[in-house]
Symmetry: C2
Subunit: 398 residues, 2 copies
Amino acid sequence: MVKKRAAVPRAGAGTLLTLIRTGRASTRADLVRLSGFARSTVAQRLDALLEAGLIVPAGDAGSTGGRPPETFAFNRHAGVLLGADIGGSHTRVAVTDLAADVLAETEADLDVADGPDAVLSWVTEAFARLLARVGREISDVRGVGVGVPGPVDGTGRLVSPPIMPDWDGVSVPERVSRALFKGAEEMGEDVPVVVDRDVNIMALGEQKAGGHDHADMVVVKIGIGIGAGLIVGGEIYRGAQGAAGDLGHLRRGTDEPCRCDNRGCLEATAGGWAIRRRLVELGYDVRTSQDIARLARRGDHETVRLVRQAGRLIGEALADVVGLFNPSHIIVGGNLAEAREPLLAGIREVVYERAQVLASRDLQIVPTTLGHRAGTIGAALLVHERLYDADRISAALG
Amino acid sequence: MVKKRAAVPRAGAGTLLTLIRTGRASTRADLVRLSGFARSTVAQRLDALLEAGLIVPAGDAGSTGGRPPETFAFNRHAGVLLGADIGGSHTRVAVTDLAADVLAETEADLDVADGPDAVLSWVTEAFARLLARVGREISDVRGVGVGVPGPVDGTGRLVSPPIMPDWDGVSVPERVSRALFKGAEEMGEDVPVVVDRDVNIMALGEQKAGGHDHADMVVVKIGIGIGAGLIVGGEIYRGAQGAAGDLGHLRRGTDEPCRCDNRGCLEATAGGWAIRRRLVELGYDVRTSQDIARLARRGDHETVRLVRQAGRLIGEALADVVGLFNPSHIIVGGNLAEAREPLLAGIREVVYERAQVLASRDLQIVPTTLGHRAGTIGAALLVHERLYDADRISAALG
DNA sequence: AAACTTATGGTGATTGACAAACAAAAGTAA
DNA sequence: TTACTTTTGTTTGTCAATCACCATAAGTTT
């Protein structure tokens, strides 16, 4: 009779790699302490990781009175990752090293409503240009991460996205994979293309690369639309159908028609979308949320007033979020958040006034640290985490 | 130098116990399949669990063509658990077996505003009466679970509870432990007293004992006040300060003063609290939320109207919750939920109208299955899970 | 009753992780 | 230079878990 294989020999290699690539450990002593494995086991697993090229020696650390410990680092140069942050009206792409540090990037004003063909072909062409710029081949790509402004299922297929109906049912990994690795089918076989909501990759970027590694936090993205990525217990929370964090379409009592075909959504009165409409009515020449943010930074009176008012409305919704989630941090990002002061001030004003004392006592409301790069870095991190998942690495070295 | 002890011999016993006590496995074959351990290891661990009296043989199961497998069951009769569900205006207590099945229960209209002394002394006296009724001693008690209508920290101490200011800083485990095991200090040493929010124990009860074992769900408690327990990824979610799920004090646009000293809270217009005030103004004689539910069940026109209206208002708040959390199920409980139809109809009406299509497509809004027992059963389950935690059991048998 | 199926108990060999000990390496402090 | 500290490499015996058998138990099917 066929017997089950023994339970993963070499288990633990993945655990060590995770400790190293997340920067929690760099020496053998660190690894022994944090992993709980025996020193001999750690040494053996380190050899396997070195041999597989997943880590590299990184010189000696300073002595603490005796022989200085040898340090190890994640081998971030053994290939590249591609990250795309497809927003509702603006798209950014980047080539990063394997640790999701940006090597080259570019961006464009693209409307997702133009459909998957237009947007995804720009994205794949931009990937190719960036690869050439950093002197890498398509064969150096180890993974691709993509963020889209709508809900996706487990396989990366869009499901009933409200603002991009043309994309319904589109499998982004399939399309991207085919476009990138065309004519070299066997090449794309092992290169994962991972897709998630734009707000989720932004949250992931801020969490892992932006220094906001808090267990319970909300990352708000304010641009033409409004959305939120939720980090719950240290993990991205997606909800039962991947639709969680839909801040922009909470009903806020007004009756403005929204682009989602409903009425009274937060976006319809506080999104960049609504501000742009008001400014155009007043004779301004604005097209993107970046235009609005620029006007606000220059101190344009009317824009500052509108942005601050939008901040207050968003703050009302966030006060509810604070009551329900009780996060320790709210990170405010998105193109409109580049307006900084007026928006943050409006949000803070209302949240601290409205939220219950306990939930808001230690609450911090801060801007993103990665700024407009949060999305692309997060997208790269998404596939990075898939590639270097502890169990996957342990199994591969077993 | 002192060396670390070897990493938990006999590991895995706790895993097997968990599989057995949660009903996922009852035969050796099940255990081997679900745990991944070798058959010999499972046999050895089972012996240890049997010897420790944690499980008992439960006869043979039906044959499937050969020798019938021997089954094992959690030894639920080796002691008792105590569960208390302290609500804002009503308190229930129960003695349960070790699997949190109720053996005896009682209840009383108690106002938490009367202070911790009054409430907790009634609770401990009720525990003593119930123990006598089922013929058990205080020494048979293996653990105590308590739910309170306010936020608690990790040690079971109340922190800034809005509706019970007298309880601020009170350590419930300390008080209960002292009152229950007075004069027998050594006895209470190993008997854990675990405390959580009332909505959280209710959610736990519905999840583990009510057949609602869904990964992402919201359990709403509607009584004199309104609150929600959140199950996120299969676990109770408490937030950064334990204040998550504060549905009752979301601001809903009105300007009614609330008992929490703010204005415009959901509770102030939709809580049993607000309905009672309206009914009293109309000349009704109502005191508790059970009175209101009774009137509604009898079909009293005015009460049904008010309850349905409250349901709509709660539905508005829940529509926001659905957008943010995207749960698969909303469980509606609490004393006022005993009014059933009018309340549920009001909630459903608004949630399905307002929530985004995707998030509400497969959403189910259903009443509790445990009814008024959800809290006490959940409280017992809370300490049950602490007592029979896999790691704790593995360590104890190692 | 005989053949078959499934479950259980026990044994021995193998394997992998661990603790402990020792030696060597590479720094600092006196 | 010498003594000391810390890190690293290597080895050895111990222990626990697993696998692979074999024997037995207790049903069902023929």
